[in-house]
Symmetry: D2
Subunit: 116 residues, 4 copies
């Protein structure tokens, strides 16, 4: 068992205790997830890139809490769909290795569909 599994179990219990499974359809959870990510984006919207790399302690504390909310909804959503996200991420990295070979992608932010 890894720690994401333990987080998943905690969230499952949290939801069951509050009778929230009725609200936690994948559709609704995807909405809640994007709302949390937008709260993160809000912290960065008027910052320069450089400022976003050097947050104050206070700002970093707020950002950390948004990152936590995002992970929570992501794990909860994956649970309702019975998806192992760690495994899925591992598989995606392998796919990206093929899509973004070092010689084409080096120093280049283009999407792979723009490579010739």
């Amino acid at each position: 068992m890894n720690n994401l599994t333990s987080l998943k179990q905690k969230l499952r219990t949290f939801s069951e205790d509050r009778d929230w499974d009725q609200f936690h359809s994948p559709k609704n959870l995807s909405m809640a997830l994007i709302v949390e990510v937008a709260e993160l984006v809000e912290h960065f919207q008027w910052l320069t890139e450089e400022q976003s790399r050097t947050l104050s302690e206070e700002k970093l504390g707020e950002v950390k809490e948004e990152l936590a909310d995002i992970l929570i909804y992501l794990v909860r959503l994956a649970d309702t769909l019975d998806v192992d996200i760690l495994r899925a991420a591992g598989e995606k990295i392998e796919k990206n290795r093929t899509r973004y070979p070092i010689e084409k992608a080096k120093g280049n932010a283009d999407k792979y569909t723009k490579f010739d």
Copy 2:
């Protein structure tokens, strides 16, 4: 070491090999993250909640890949900010326990700020 740490390391190497750190400011990564979440939302936008709970194999495969992309950008973003998201999520759950006591939150989807 847990598996998220291993994922973080893989992504760090992936980015370094491609000289992508220059693009990976927290600001930019928050944008990439919300774009991935929106691709997930797109799968659910015209489905009923019930349909979102019972996806076809094909659709589930596509959704799984979006979930992977989200985890990848989330872990990468947390790494650039040096945030331990598993720990942050654990702390947030404890906070939520106080904000959403079972007797008030049971069967109720209101935000805690609406509780009296």
Copy 3:
């Protein structure tokens, strides 16, 4: 002159008066825009579709303000790029007429790329 033009002018003056043009890059405005849309999504995340069609007066007032914020940022962003959004929308509808012919799209929420 139509009313969107008048709104555009007002927003331009509002920004100039506050010396905000320095923050209003299209990149930043796209972030502000998605943050506002997420605030709208938040109102609907735990509602059923039916409930979202029959909002209370209070809720509708809050939603109306979010819609205003979205239009404001959309018009402001289009202005920084010198895009006539009404004209662009008119052209897009014509494109959609071709992409979604009535006989294929009737009662069908599929994206046009799924039509055969």
Copy 4:
């Protein structure tokens, strides 16, 4: 009648002709709207702010189409809720005039809640 009213009417007919009103709940339309905005954000995610101000002709054409999609869903959503967005935007600007007085907001991107 202004041009937004004409756009609203066109979209209403477009939807009726395709029997799409069943899908166009405010909940679903808010999802479609955020998906379109994310497609816009995607164009800017790896650009510097400066690059986002000086798009190539090709890129600008793509961005213009996203802006059109956003306006289309925004107008459609407002119509299902019977909200006059131009009027709402006008009211919001007046509210913002009070929230962001020139002497406090000049050259300052803080949210009004941060003003003392």
